[in-house]
Symmetry: D2
């Protein structure tokens, strides 16, 4: 039974919701702030459907994106690997075509994409922002990448550390890179982080990407700071496909992976400042002041004293407020607390230096 009209579905949904169900066509926004006059778009540009080796119908990827608070999603089925081919004959553009109408209705930016799938090395590459996937179905990987580029595609290397025995930067990657056909790398894919890729992006000025590479249905449970979809935060001039692509091309991204933000210092610093609000002290006794520190984001922010011991760790839990106390300088009426935000990674193993400034003036 499913020949219900959309209208009926809404009421069924409501019925479900009144009955206390947590899931349904309800969107929970992700709380990560806009920065630097950009919109912070939450994006997953690497997902699969039954059209390659995924396990869901394309519309499910849009429904999930909507519910989870994403702004943009790409279905990027494998061109060369189609284990369901016998039952779902090859038609590279169909996932996009099927998902487009629900995406429009749900205000999701749908990016036409595909995964170029070769043995490792060189491995897999996603071509996104395409107008037609068919020309990418070529014998030679390089030809496929060129076909994507011809359409203005944004191309990134997927899960570069996937096969430990064959991982690394090979000649093919150099060839792509020097031909300006490689625009980004997945620094995180699903539940794996690739520090080498992180380093390569910094050194070669490539865009850092984080994606789910989801094949299963995404579980609808409550996400948490540690347990959410791996995604790319893209700092775009507006919420549109064009602005999204422009931001990716210019490398304006941060990867949100488990409870870590991975990216360039300028964006991480801006995210920290936008997320953490330090109130004026509300209480003073002698030289000690008490003040509230509010974390307006879905990230548990972990602060460490530079060179300090573990006991000096300070947690600013997501979407919460804590009270801190400190001694104030009696002349300046100020205090400056210096920390490292250890889960804001400006390089592999390197946290972002931050200050908490307190003033009673």
């Amino acid at each position: 039974m499913r020949m219900k009209s959309k209208a009926v579905l809404y009421f069924v949904l409501l019925h479900l919701l009144f009955a206390g169900l947590a899931t349904g066509d309800v969107r929970r926004e992700i709380n990560i702030p806009d920065i630097l006059d950009y919109k912070t778009l939450k994006c997953d540009l690497h997902t699969h459907t039954v059209f390659s080796d995924g396990l869901v119908w394309p519309t499910v990827r849009v429904d999930e994106a909507w519910r989870e608070g994403l702004d943009a999603v790409s279905i990027s089925d494998h061109i060369e690997y189609q284990p369901h081919k016998k039952d779902v004959p090859t038609n590279h553009n169909r996932p996009y075509e099927i998902a487009l109408s629900p995406a429009k209705q749900k205000n999701i930016l749908l990016v036409r994409g595909a995964e170029l799938t070769r043995d490792t090395p060189p491995g897999h590459f996603n071509a996104t922002f395409l107008s037609d996937i068919t020309p990418l179905d070529t014998n030679e990987l390089f030809d496929a990448v060129k076909a994507a580029d011809k359409q203005g595609g944004f191309i990134f290397w997927n899960h570069p550390g996937w096969k430990p025995e064959a991982k690394g930067w090979y000649d093919f990657h150099t060839q792509l890179y020097s031909s300006k056909l490689l625009h980004g790398i997945e620094v995180a894919n699903g539940d794996t982080y690739y520090p080498e890729a992180h380093q390569w992006c910094l050194e070669k000025n490539l865009t850092m990407m984080g994606n789910s590479d989801v094949h299963q249905p995404v579980a609808n449970c409550e996400p948490s700071p540690e347990n959410h979809r791996t995604m790319t935060l893209v700092f775009a001039k507006e919420r549109s496909l064009d602005a999204l692509k422009a931001a990716l091309v210019e490398g304006r991204t941060v990867v949100w992976y488990k409870n870590q933000l991975i990216g360039r210092t300028e964006y991480l610093d801006a995210l920290f400042k936008a997320a953490v609000r330090i109130a004026k002290p509300h209480h003073k006794q002698n030289n000690t002041v008490w003040f509230e520190v509010k974390n307006c984001s879905d990230i548990d922010i972990e602060l460490e004293k530079p060179g300090g011991n573990p006991a000096d760790k300070l947690l600013l839990p997501a979407n919460s407020t804590i009270v801190m106390k400190t001694n104030i300088d009696s002349k300046t009426n100020r205090a400056k607390l210096s920390y490292t935000a250890s889960n804001f990674l400006i390089a592999p193993d390197k946290g972002l230096p931050v200050n908490i400034m307190v003033s009673i003036q």
Copy 2:
């Protein structure tokens, strides 16, 4: 990326689990007791996949069943309604064939089934325990049912109150019933309960069925007494397809729908007695005794005083213990507390009478 071996998948899974993820290939048993020397099999014989109007690949239905603690599942795609036909050409037996190997590995009883789909009335019917679905693809509904019966199929009427404007028992149902081609009715489908169907099953000695009719992926969140998959509890001689079918034919079922159990008195009474354990009093003061009452099931059991007021309600929460106190008869050293288990429905709007017997001897 998904060409991981099964072995690798296990370790990935473990990694996920260590990371605190609640989902994965982990099974949580449903806590509803065996009764009357039967195994209580948890069954959902009505689900859909991309092969009709569902949104998941057939193996997903097996994975979900495993995780949720089901014993048996049937994929019952529509024969006549296939909106994805353009991309997934008709092949009625494929969902079963695709899901069979994972079902064997995961110890799930997979029932080959199909949904016969006609306008209401007469509506939709599920034919299950088939050996080949193709012969059911006929012009006349009656012919399809006969084809199912020829294979020894178990046939039930789906969501009989679905279209309120055209619901009811029509001549076609009488025709099926008198030809012994109708074996059960869905008393509950998804989030809807059909009291008329409940009554029909009682009057006509038909098997009460409850199924999810799920089209979407099933959410992986924590189920609760109020919010779980609608299913049929089948009391079978053993955990096998043959025993399951035999039990269905003989009507040994109870429907678990939201926080209600719907079925015949004998099975509901046995479930109550198996689930509720009344301990000897652990404390006595004058004539008052205190004793523990433990509910060993996933059902919140709601007790009401017959003819009593709402304040006399008593809840035995799922998988929990409460302390009750009562006055004991000083001669017999006994007390008998009579209630109605208002969510054990022996007929529409009619709860099961139960006693809580206390003795200090």
Copy 3:
């Protein structure tokens, strides 16, 4: 062991938090918007401690208030009912004195209060914003109320329907009211709502109060729209004790009880408008438009069509977004959807009329 310094406690707390504990000295703000240029203060002016018949030390009430996102709390121990007197000798002002320092450190507005406790009728009354509780320990209830008034106290009638057999408005209430010694009534207390009290407040222009009357420790679990502390939302010019009292005196309150807001039309209307954000349509097809409706509050907002059937119910879940669609008038390019917000109670059983206005201009 507890002689840890505060500093050590912080690190212990952090340790706990890193370990994934949900509790601790962490505040989760309540998401209910400010309105009409007032701050919306979240207040519970009726709680108990071991100094009367409560079960916690006074500082616990401050800790709980902080964690749960309250702005103000009053400990209002019974003056006349002190079952722990043998172990905790009477000292009416001690709960306030003990809790004051932690309240200052945690930025909680602590209101000195007490519960005047007499048989019903006339029942119990809370006197709040006192400077000294001792003078209220009198033989005659009226004298106690006068003593409170002399200190500028704000006085309200507690749980007016508590004893069903003796509830109602009696001469004593008239006497208090006409002497301007009764300023408010608890419209909700704990898990009970009193529609008669709601009506009296409307008719007699008394301040509507909602309080927890908590005696046990407050559970630290995740609150939900249906399951949170009963409290009074007070619309104050600033976050201070003076402004809080002034707002109470002027009746600027709404009671938050389960998933209901109870108050005067002007405040409920302002809360609805501040909480519900209707976006410009993001998609149009012929005359149909799709648009997002975001609920920026912790309340599940329930909308019903006036005179409509249950199927027309619409839920705007707390802190979530839904997509609605509607037909637009082709001349005006507008649509107006009229609903009743059935859980915004402007009178007993009477929801707030609201409109959802859509425009594509």
Copy 4:
């Protein structure tokens, strides 16, 4: 308001529960199996109330114990440290006296205890199973311990690594030990584990204890394998105070701390075997068999290959089933999988060796 009769309270409770509240006077049993013909009693013999530096009334400790599934609890307020003395005058036996009646009604074994509180070293000691606490209020610590022993008290050293700068085994401990006045040590206290204490217990044949040392109200949230009350599992001949004490004296304990079980090999081995059920293989293909492994306990059991790499980790999640597969020896029709249960600690940093035996005969 709280002068409700117990009877009324029950119904209020029920009302709360129907309303979906998670807390209340409902007990959730802890799922850790009985072993070796002993009852596995769940015990916390170190808690505080307002009578020393705790923050709750004594009855709260009983209510919490009941709800959390404990069998026994001791209130062990400091004799020498009473910061609330001004408001709650010293009366060492009162916490026990106050809590006794609710303990009897709720079937909780209440152990009369006290904490002897001296500077570190030698630190704090709990004396439990006392008949009168007053004689322990002495100048000399040794005299207090002797007074406890005279009453047949069971005495253990609390949080032996609490003050890192002064921790260690001192002459006083030797004096106690050689006088047979030291019977156990807290191997875990709250959220801290003391590996040195673990070693001392093994070497000196002292009873391993784990306790909460809770001062705050215990949060009522859902416990999890990682986040539950630290406690001692005591293997007693029956559920009685006498049997509990006898088991403690004989050292029949395992400490449950976070997701670790800490104890002697024989008890940990028995717990593993009682918790883990290995089913006959349900599927076979060539030499590979698939079989279910069920973990019937609240512990996430972590298995590692001895000397193996991290990828070989295997998790048996609490109260769940997984499917394993392995190759079977074609001659013996058996397989033996050897692991270390890394969170069953038979010594500091040393897991329990375990085998998973599979047979298709």
